[in-house]
C-alpha cells in the first residue's frame, strides 16, 4: 500500500498532522512505537508558561529566538492550531476552555499554581482567579496513592486561599488492591460510585460551606464532563479536577480525542513497531522500515512527517560518549557540544538543561537540516518534541508547539 503521507509518531503532534492531511483527502498512515507522552501530561494545552499574558510574551519570543518552533511556523499557525483543537474537542464532547490572550493558572497535585492556556471543562472551576471566592475543599481518596489533599490544601493556604483537605472513602466493593488513577476513573463511570461520593461531598459542603471542591483528575474516562456535572448537582458545590501523577487520566482523555478523530477520518494507525531505518533517493525519502516482533516491514509514501518526540518520547537517544541519535531516520541532531554541557548542576535551574533543547534543526518549512544548514530530505517535515532549540517542558509549550507545527505543517508543504 502506498500512502500520500506517513507520519512517524502517535503523539499530539503526529496525530494533528495526520488529521489535517486526512481532512484534505490524503491517504495517511501513522506508524508508531507507542502512544506518545500524553498520559504523562496534565491534559491541558500549554502554550507558554508566562503567567497572565502569554500572547505578548510570544510576540517577543518570535523576535528574540528565530530558531524557536513558534518563530519558524509563525504565531498564526499557532492560533489556527488552537482554534482547530477547540473545535475538535468540542465535537468529541470534551470541550476545552480558555485562550492565549489570557493565561490560566490551576492548582497542581502539590498545590502549586501552574500556567496553561486551554483546559478541559472538568478543570475550569479551579482557575486561580475564582478560587478566592470562598472556602475551598480539596478532597481525595485514601486508596489513591497519587493525590494528597492535606498537603495540597496547606500549599494553597500559603498562597492565600481558604483551602481545607480531606479524604473520602471509596464505596465498599470498589476498594481494589491496585487503586491506580485509571482504575478509579473507571469506577466513576458507575452510577452508584458517583452517588456515594456525591453524598460524602454533600456532607462536607453542609459542614464547611465550601463553594468549590478540587478532586483528583480521575472523574471518569469517557464521560468526564457529565460526571463532574452530576457531582456538582449532588454536592451543591463547583467541582474541578486536579491532574494526578502519571498515569494522568486527563492526559489520556485528550489523547483519545485525537485518536478517535483520526480513526474516524480514515487514518490508518499501526502501533507497536520501531521505525529503524530509512531509504532515500537523493533528497527524497522513499521508504522506511519498521521492526515489530521478528520481521522488518517496508513502508513507502510521497511525504513524511517525523513526530517521534524528544528524549522523553524516544525520538532521540543518547549514549555515554555524548552521542545523540535520532532513532527513526538517523537525521543529524543539533545538540550541546559535549556531554559536559548537557546539564545544569541544579535540577531546578530556571533555564532547564541544555540537553533537552537537542533535536532536529529545521527550515521554515520544517524540513530537516544538517550541520551546514542544508536540507536533508525535501519531503520530510519534523514536528513537535523532536524539534531543536526549545524546551517544551520548562517553557510550558508542549501542546502549543505540537499543534502549531503538527497542524501547521501541511500549509508549509502543499
Amino acid at each position: 500500500m502506498h500512502y500520500d503521507t506517513i507520519i512517524i509518531g502517535a503523539g499530539l503532534a503526529g496525530l494533528s498532522a495526520a488529521l489535517r492531511r486526512a481532512a484534505l483527502g490524503e491517504r495517511v498512515l501513522v506508524l508508531a512505537k507507542g502512544y506518545g507522552a500524553s498520559g504523562w501530561t496534565a491534559g491541558c494545552v500549554d502554550v507558554w508558561a508566562a503567567g497572565d499574558a502569554p500572547l505578548s510574551a510570544l510576540a517577543t519570543l518570535v523576535r528574540s529566538r528565530p530558531q524557536h518552533p513558534y518563530a519558524l511556523v509563525g504565531l498564526e499557525a499557532l492560533q489556527r492550531g488552537l482554534e482547530w483543537v477547540r473545535t475538535l474537542a468540542a465535537a468529541a464532547g470534551y470541550p476545552l476552555v480558555g485562550g492565549w490572550e489570557r493565561g490560566l493558572r490551576l492548582p497542581t497535585a502539590l498545590g502549586a499554581l501552574r500556567s496553561t492556556c486551554l483546559v478541559p471543562l472538568t478543570m475550569v472551576a479551579g482557575e486561580s482567579r475564582q478560587l478566592a471566592d470562598g472556602p475551598l475543599l480539596i478532597a481525595g481518596l485514601r486508596e489513591l496513592r497519587d493525590f494528597f489533599p492535606p498537603l495540597i490544601a496547606e500549599n494553597l493556604r500559603a498562597q492565600g486561599y481558604a483551602a481545607t483537605g480531606c479524604y473520602l472513602q471509596m464505596p465498599p466493593g470498589e476498594r481494589q488492591r491496585e487503586c491506580t488513577p485509571l482504575h478509579v476513573a473507571q469506577c466513576f463511570e458507575q452510577a452508584h460510585v458517583r452517588a456515594n461520593i456525591g453524598q460524602q461531598l454533600r456532607t462536607h459542603v453542609r459542614q464547611g460551606g465550601y463553594r468549590r471542591i478540587g478532586l483528583p483528575g480521575v472523574l471518569g474516562l469517557h464521560q468526564a464532563p457529565a460526571v463532574v456535572a452530576e457531582l456538582q448537582a449532588l454536592s451543591g458545590a463547583l467541582i474541578f479536577e486536579i491532574p494526578t501523577l502519571p498515569t494522568s487520566v486527563p492526559g489520556l482523555r485528550l489523547f483519545h480525542v485525537f485518536e478517535q478523530a483520526a480513526l474516524a477520518a480514515g487514518v490508518r494507525m499501526q502501533v507497536g513497531g520501531w521505525v529503524v531505518r530509512a531509504e532515500a533517493e537523493g533528497q527524497q525519502l522513499v521508504a522506511v522500515y519498521s521492526r515489530a516482533a521478528a520481521r522488518e516491514q517496508r513502508h513507502s509514501a510521497r511525504r513524511w512527517v517525523l513526530a517521534t518526540g524528544g528524549m522523553l518520547g524516544g525520538g532521540l537517544r543518547s549514549d555515554a560518549h555524548g552521542h545523540i541519535i535520532e532513532t527513526a531516520l538517523g537525521l543529524p541532531v543539533a545538540k550541546p557540544y559535549s556531554r559536559a554541557e548537557w546539564f545544569d548542576p541544579l535540577l531546578f535551574a530556571p533555564g532547564g538543561h541544555p540537553i533537552f533543547q537537542a533535536g532536529i534543526a529545521v527550515d521554515p518549512q520544517l524540513r530537516p537540516l544538517d550541520a551546514e544548514g542544508r536540507v536533508v530530505y525535501e519531503n520530510v517535515a519534523v514536528v513537535g518534541g523532536a524539534l531543536a532549540h526549545y524546551d517544551e517542558l520548562r517553557e510550558g509549550c508542549r501542546e502549543g508547539v505540537a499543534l502549531a507545527t503538527g497542524y501547521g505543517e501541511e500549509q508549509k508543504n502543499r
Partner: protein, 564 residues
C-alpha cells in the same frame, strides 16, 4: 546542665555504633553523637560487600584474617542485614594467570576458606559472566545493607540503655591540662549547644578523625581516599564477583537488593566533605565491568556515588599507592602517642570489621576504667527494626517460597535477657534468616499490599513508610536510608512526592518543635538524587530523568512553590 557519661563516642557510622553497643553491653555508660543521620558517612556510601577476606590475602593478610573471622560473627548476629550471595574470584584474560595459585596459597595461609569452582558450574550460576574466564574460586563473600545494620545497632544500643544523638555535631573538646574531659556538641536542627562531660572520648569519626583529634590539639594526619561506585539497574550477577588479581580499581561487582554495584576507584581528595565524581572514574568502572560481563555498559546505570576511606599511615612510611596502605585498622591511644589522655581514635578498617575494631577500642577503655566485663557483641543477635517486613510477618509464601526457604526470625532479643549461647543447631538454622532478593515481594504479595506501595521500585508499602515517619526522621534522605525509597530505577519519580505528602500528614498528627517543610524536603531530595545521577545520565536513564522532570515540573510545579 551538662550531660555526664563515662564515654563520649564521636561518629554514628558502623564503628561508632559498634563501640556504643559494646560499651553498653559491658555496663559502661556512653553517649554517641553523629553530625548527620546515622550511616550518613562512609558507612552509608560503601560498596556493600561483606568481605570473606579474599580480597586482602595478598596485599594485607592481617586484614584478610580479621575479615574471615568477623564474617562468621556477622552472619550470626545480623543475618537480616546480609545476603548470602557467596563470592567468586575469577581469572579473566586481562589477569595474570599465575597469580591464581598464589592467591589460593595466600588464602590458606590467612585462614580464608577457598574452593576452586568448575567453570561449568560458574557458567550455570552466572550466565552473563565472560566466557573467556579461565579459572574461578568460591569464597564466603556476601552483600550487606549497612543502613539496616546501623539501625539495628542503634536499636540495640538504645535498648541497652545508652543514648544516641543524631544531627549533633562535636564542635569542641575541652581539655583540663593534658586530659580531655568534655565535648561540646551543637544540635544542628535547633542550633542549641550542649556540653557532655566524660572520662573518655572515642573518636570514631572515620575520614573526619583528623579534624576531631585537632579539636583536642592532637595532630592526626589521614589520607582521604575517595572511591566511586556505580549502581546498575539490573542484578546481572547474583554472586559477588571479584577479579582474581592484586586489588585494583573497578574489579568487584556486588549484587545488593535490586541492583548490582560496580566499584571502586581510589583517588586522593583534600576534603572528605567536598569531592566530585569524575567522568573518567565512571568510564573506568564501566570498562572494567565489561571485562567481567561483556555488554555491561549497555545496561542502564542508575546513579554514581562516592565514599571516603580514612587511610592512616604512621609517620615515616610515606609514599606509595593508596592501595598499598594497609586496610587494617589502627587504635590510637593519644595518651601514649601524643601525651593527651582521655582520647582514643579508631582509624581505617572496613565495615566488615567494625565489631572487632569496637571490641579492641572498648577493651582499652574498659581496662582504663577498671571494668572487667567481657565483650559480648560477638554473641548478641541484633534486633530487627519494626520497619522491616519480617519483624511482624509470619513465614512467607508465594514468591518468597520460590526464592528459597524462609522461616521467621528467631527472637533472641531483648538484650537485657540472658545472652543465648550459640549451639551448633542455631548456627545451622541460620541459613534461613538471611535477607534475600524477593523477601519484600513475598511480604507484599502475602499481605496483598500491592495497591499500597509508595515506592514501586523498592516495594515499600505505606505501612512501612508510616512506621518510619512515626519513629521520627529528619529529612527525606533519612527515609531513603531507612527504606530505600527513591533508590530504584525511577530515582524518586513517584515515591518522593508521596513520601513528602505522608511526611506532612504524619507531622500534622504529632506535636513537633521543628516540623520539616515538606516542599523544601522534596526539592532537597530531588536535587541530591540529581547530583548522583548526573555522572551516569544517558540512554534510558536520561529518558527517565526527563520523565521525572515532567512529573515534578510539568505536573506538580515543585519549582513554583515558595518555602514556607
Amino acid at each position: 546542665m551538662p550531660y555526664e557519661t563515662e564515654v563520649l563516642i564521636i561518629g554514628g557510622g558502623a564503628t561508632g555504633l559498634g563501640c556504643a553497643l559494646d560499651l553498653a553491653l559491658r555496663g559502661i555508660g556512653c553517649i554517641l553523637v553523629e553530625k548527620g543521620d546515622l550511616a550518613s558517612g562512609t558507612t552509608g556510601r560503601y560498596h556493600g560487600l561483606l568481605h570473606s577476606g579474599g580480597r586482602y590475602v595478598t596485599s594485607d593478610p592481617q586484614s584478610a584474617r580479621e575479615c574471615a573471622r568477623e564474617n562468621v560473627i556477622l552472619r550470626r548476629i545480623m543475618p537480616h542485614c546480609l545476603e548470602d550471595t557467596s563470592g567468586v574470584f575469577v581469572v579473566t584474560p586481562w589477569d595474570d594467570a599465575d597469580y591464581a595459585d598464589q592467591f589460593v596459597a595466600n588464602c590458606h595461609a590467612a585462614g580464608v576458606a577457598v574452593q576452586e569452582l568448575p567453570l561449568a558450574e560458574l557458567q550455570r550460576r552466572e550466565s552473563l559472566l565472560n566466557r573467556a574466564i579461565s579459572r574461578a574460586f568460591e569464597l564466603h563473600d556476601g552483600s550487606a545493607d549497612s543502613f539496616l545494620a546501623a539501625r539495628s545497632l542503634a536499636l540495640a544500643v538504645e535498648s541497652a540503655g545508652a543514648r544516641i544523638f543524631s544531627y549533633h555535631q562535636l564542635e569542641r573538646l575541652i581539655r583540663m591540662g593534658d586530659r580531655v574531659v568534655a565535648g561540646v556538641v551543637t544540635d544542628r536542627r535547633s542550633g542549641e549547644q550542649q556540653r557532655i562531660d566524660c572520662a573518655y572520648v572515642l573518636n570514631a569519626s572515620g575520614a573526619w578523625a583528623g579534624r576531631v583529634a585537632a579539636l583536642a590539639g592532637v595532630q592526626l594526619t589521614l589520607v582521604a581516599g575517595k572511591g566511586t561506585m556505580v549502581a546498575m539497574n539490573h542484578r546481572m550477577v547474583n554472586t559477588v564477583v571479584n577479579r582474581c588479581k592484586y586489588p585494583a580499581d573497578g574489579d568487584i561487582i556486588v549484587p545488593i537488593h535490586t541492583v548490582a554495584v560496580l566499584g571502586t576507584t581510589d583517588l586522593h581528595v583534600p576534603d572528605p566533605d567536598h569531592y566530585g565524581i569524575e567522568a573518567h572514574e565512571v568510564a573506568l568502572l564501566l570498562a572494567e565491568g565489561e571485562k567481567l560481563i561483556p555488554g555491561l555498559s549497555r545496561y542502564r546505570a542508575l546513579r554514581a556515588w562516592a565514599g571516603v576511606r580514612p587511610l592512616y599511615q604512621d609517620s615515616g612510611q610515606r609514599g606509595g599507592a593508596d592501595r598499598a596502605i594497609p586496610r587494617t585498622f589502627k587504635l590510637l591511644d593519644h595518651r601514649e602517642r601524643d601525651g593527651v589522655a582521655g582520647l582514643i581514635s579508631l582509624v581505617g578498617g572496613k565495615w566488615t570489621t567494625y565489631r572487632l575494631m569496637a571490641e579492641e577500642a572498648v577493651n582499652l577503655v574498659a581496662q582504663r576504667l577498671g571494668k572487667l566485663q567481657p565483650c559480648r557483641t560477638a554473641h548478641e543477635v541484633l534486633p530487627v527494626p519494626a520497619t522491616e517486613h519480617r519483624a511482624h510477618l509470619p513465614p512467607l509464601r508465594g514468591a518468597a517460597a520460590r526464592y528459597g526457604a524462609q522461616t521467621e526470625h528467631k527472637a533472641t532479643w531483648p538484650i537485657n535477657g540472658l545472652a543465648q549461647p550459640w549451639g551448633q543447631n542455631e548456627i545451622q538454622g541460620l541459613d534461613a534468616d538471611y535477607y534475600y532478593l524477593g523477601q519484600h515481594l513475598g511480604a507484599v504479595e502475602q499481605s496483598q499490599a500491592a495497591g499500597d506501595l509508595i515506592c514501586e521500585c523498592e516495594l515499600v508499602t505505606r505501612a512501612r513508610v508510616l512506621t518510619a515517619l512515626e519513629q521520627g526522621i529528619h529529612t527525606l534522605d533519612d527515609i531513603r536510608r531507612t527504606l530505600r525509597v527513591g533508590m530504584g530505577p525511577c530515582q524518586g519519580g513517584w515515591c518522593v512526592y508521596r513520601t513528602a505528602a505522608l511526611l506532612y500528614e504524619v507531622q500534622q498528627t504529632q506535636a513537633q518543635d521543628a516540623p520539616i517543610d515538606p516542599n523544601m524536603a522534596l526539592r532537597d531530595f530531588l536535587q541530591a538524587r540529581w547530583k548522583g545521577a548526573l555522572p551516569i545520565l544517558w540512554g534510558d536513564q536520561l529518558r527517565q530523568a526527563r520523565l521525572d522532570e515532567q512529573i515534578y515540573v510539568g505536573l506538580l510545579g515543585v519549582d513554583l512553590i515558595a518555602d514556607s
